[in-house]
């Protein structure tokens, strides 16, 4: 009979056969979001190969080339597609290099928040009691302040720097994971398969990791996706206000600030293009995030 076991299908195969993949291929917004994100990731990884100039290398800058308009305007050249800023830096090159900082901060802060928030949520939901009360009250208090405000206060205390931005964003971001994961954990904990695991002799930490965690991952993925976009925006706000990344590592937000001083002198391209670019990226992330939310967790609609 069935002597040779059918091998378990590979993860990719299983994904492509899933309902999620099926709906993804039929959703225009999901595909658009995915293309934007893919383009962004390619741009960030291939960065130096896409630009003629390294905007961080002072030797490549020429002050005589400053304030060149975009190539399609009068006085623009094909060398600087989107024009140059007050130092003669290529705006396009600055966007490519700035995106690396912005995406790194968004992803790293998301991973840090997810790890801390999910751990606290699992522990609070699974063990309950006083620990749960303490964690959740801290979360409630924090949620009563706007997250940009908290990050702003923390950054004013810490000073500028990528590491400090990460700490500020993680301090702001863990709450949403903790609350969501706690709720999902409470629901899963009461289901019989958790009792079955107890009867099977699994200790609590194994029940959490093997049984509860895989079943609360879905909402986590949705939040994580959307949060990368949120974090890029918060970081841009902080940098724009001058408490984010240092001037030597300009993120997209800092680029907007750079051009802001001369924005109303008609030199609009220095600020506007990084701004439009952030908008496009966050738009793409939100398109995909909304699709995932609708597909994976219909109750959040």
């Amino acid at each position: 009979m069935a002597t040779n076991m059918p091998a378990a299908p590979s993860a990719l195969r299983r994904f492509m056969a899933s309902e999620l993949a099926h709906n993804w291929l039929r959703s225009a917004s999901a595909i658009a979001g995915s293309i934007i994100i893919l383009g962004f990731v390619v741009m960030v990884t291939a960065g130096p190969y896409l630009t003629a100039q390294n905007p961080y290398d002072v030797r490549q800058l020429d002050i005589m080339e400053a304030f060149k308009p975009p190539m399609w305007l009068e006085g623009g050249t094909g060398q600087y597609i989107l024009g140059t800023d007050q130092q003669g830096r290529d705006v396009w090159a600055s966007i490519v290099y700035g995106s690396r900082i912005s995406l790194f901060i968004g992803l790293a802060a998301m991973l840090g928040s997810a790890l801390i928030g999910a751990t606290l949520g699992l522990v609070a939901g699974f063990y309950g009691g006083r620990l749960d009360t303490v964690i959740m009250r801290i979360a409630d208090i924090q949620l009563s302040f706007p997250s940009v405000l908290i990050a702003l206060v923390l950054m004013s205390a810490f000073g500028t720097g990528v590491d400090k931005v990460l700490i500020a964003l993680v301090s702001v971001g863990w709450v949403v994971y903790a609350r969501t994961v706690r709720g999902a954990t409470l629901r899963e904990k009461s289901r019989e398969y958790v009792q079955a695991a107890r009867v099977s002799g699994l200790p609590n930490h194994k029940i959490i990791l093997k049984h509860v965690l895989p079943n609360v991952l879905t909402p986590l993925i949705v939040i994580a996706t959307i949060q990368v976009g949120t974090f890029i925006l918060i970081e841009a706000s902080l940098s724009f206000l001058g408490v984010g990344v240092p001037i030597t590592q300009p993120s997209l937000g800092l680029l907007i600030k750079n051009g802001f001083d001369v924005l109303f002198s008609g030199l609009w391209w220095i600020s506007v293009f990084p701004g439009l670019f952030i908008m496009l990226v966050v738009f793409g992330i939100n398109l995909l995030g909304d699709f995932l939310r609708d597909e994976l967790n219909p109750r959040l609609k």
Partner: protein
């Protein structure tokens, strides 16, 4: 000393605090602030024994404490009072580590085949989980063990790599049975294992459970609210009402000669083909009293057609009345006989 039964439960009580946090409990009454607790009296002094290879069926209405009793015996809940003895070993106060060898002897089949299997776990992992945790199973042997277990419950090797959602309810319950079998237990607690299944599938699962019992020689504590199921599978039957054991005895004695007014009413209420329903006078009226506030005296007296003054003041104890049958009712105290040593001890 007479032979020790496989499982002996003495005066087991289970109370749950359903009052919630302090804020949920706060009340303002008669000008005073108070924070009363709400205690559910789920199991109230139940005693029972199960012999090796025996099937004890436990029947009663929904909410009568059957499941709470089962989950307390297997220590999913800590008992409030009473003793649980497995093979003469008192496991009542055992913590996690000391329960590990006990879990090898006692396993459980759950009610809901949809909720009792982790949807993210492959079937081959599900069925060997207890074996790996408490019976020293190793990863190297796990696949072979899973195949053996699946074969025993009538599933094939092609099912091993699948996930629970790819199975029907009956197949899922087979997976749950295979999981319980994996450690070769002496006792399997089955909490309404067929009540979520179609009638045609119920018969298949019940037959499988009986065949496996004959092959392996273990015992069942079989919980159900379905009288035809309990009649089919049980050697002995216990009838529960509001957390009390009101009658126990051999299957045929319970069905042919029920002695407790509640058992009599329960059997009469079951519809049978070709027989009209009993006249309204013989049907039970009223509601089951709240488990938050137990009635004084006999728990059944509020619905009992034969209740008298004594029932309101004194709670009847479960007493042996001959032929292995025990009843907790004041009506039967006249023909009371002394308890044999190994028989059921009195309910608290």
């Amino acid at each position: 000393m007479s032979e020790e039964p496989l499982l002996r439960v003495d005066g087991l009580e289970q109370r749950f605090d359903a009052s919630g946090s302090l804020f949920d409990r706060l009340r303002f009454e008669n000008g005073r602030i108070s924070a009363p607790r709400r205690i559910v009296h789920a199991v109230n002094g139940v005693s029972l024994t199960i012999a090796r290879g025996e099937v004890l069926g436990l029947v009663g209405e929904s909410g009568c404490g059957k499941s709470s009793l089962a989950k307390t015996i297997i220590k999913l809940h800590e008992p409030t009072a009473g003793r649980i003895m497995l093979e003469g070993e008192d496991i009542t106060g055992y913590g996690f580590q000391r329960m590990q060898p006990v879990r090898r002897k006692m396993q459980m089949i759950f009610q809901d085949p949809y909720a009792s299997l982790n949807p993210r776990q492959q079937v081959s992992d599900i069925v060997v989980e207890p074996w790996r945790e408490v019976a020293g199973g190793t990863s190297g042997d796990a696949h072979e063990r899973a195949m053996q277990l699946l074969a025993k419950v009538g599933l094939g090797a092609e099912h091993a790599a699948r996930y629970p959602h790819q199975f029907s309810g009956g197949q899922r319950q087979r997976i749950g049975i295979a999981r319980a079998l994996s450690v070769n237990p002496d006792l399997i607690i089955a909490d309404e294992p067929v009540s979520a299944l179609d009638v045609s599938i119920q018969a298949q699962i019940l037959n499988l459970m009986l065949d496996l019992k004959d092959d392996f020689g273990f015992s069942y504590l079989f919980i159900t609210h379905d009288l035809s199921v309990v009649r089919f599978i049980s050697d002995r039957i216990g009838v529960m009402y509001l957390g009390f054991m009101v009658e126990t005895g051999p299957r045929d004695a319970i069905f042919d000669n029920p002695r407790h007014p509640y058992t009599q009413a329960l059997l009469k209420a079951a519809p049978r083909i070709g027989q009209p329903l009993p006249p309204a006078a013989e049907q039970l009226t009223g509601e089951v009293p709240s488990a938050f506030v137990l009635p004084q005296g006999c728990a059944f007296r509020t619905r009992c057609p034969l209740a008298h003054a004594r029932c309101a003041t004194e709670r009847p104890a479960l007493k042996h009345i001959g032929a292995g049958q025990s009843v907790a009712c004041h009506l039967h105290e006249a023909d009371e006989t002394p308890l044999p040593a190994a028989a059921l001890s009195a309910a608290a």
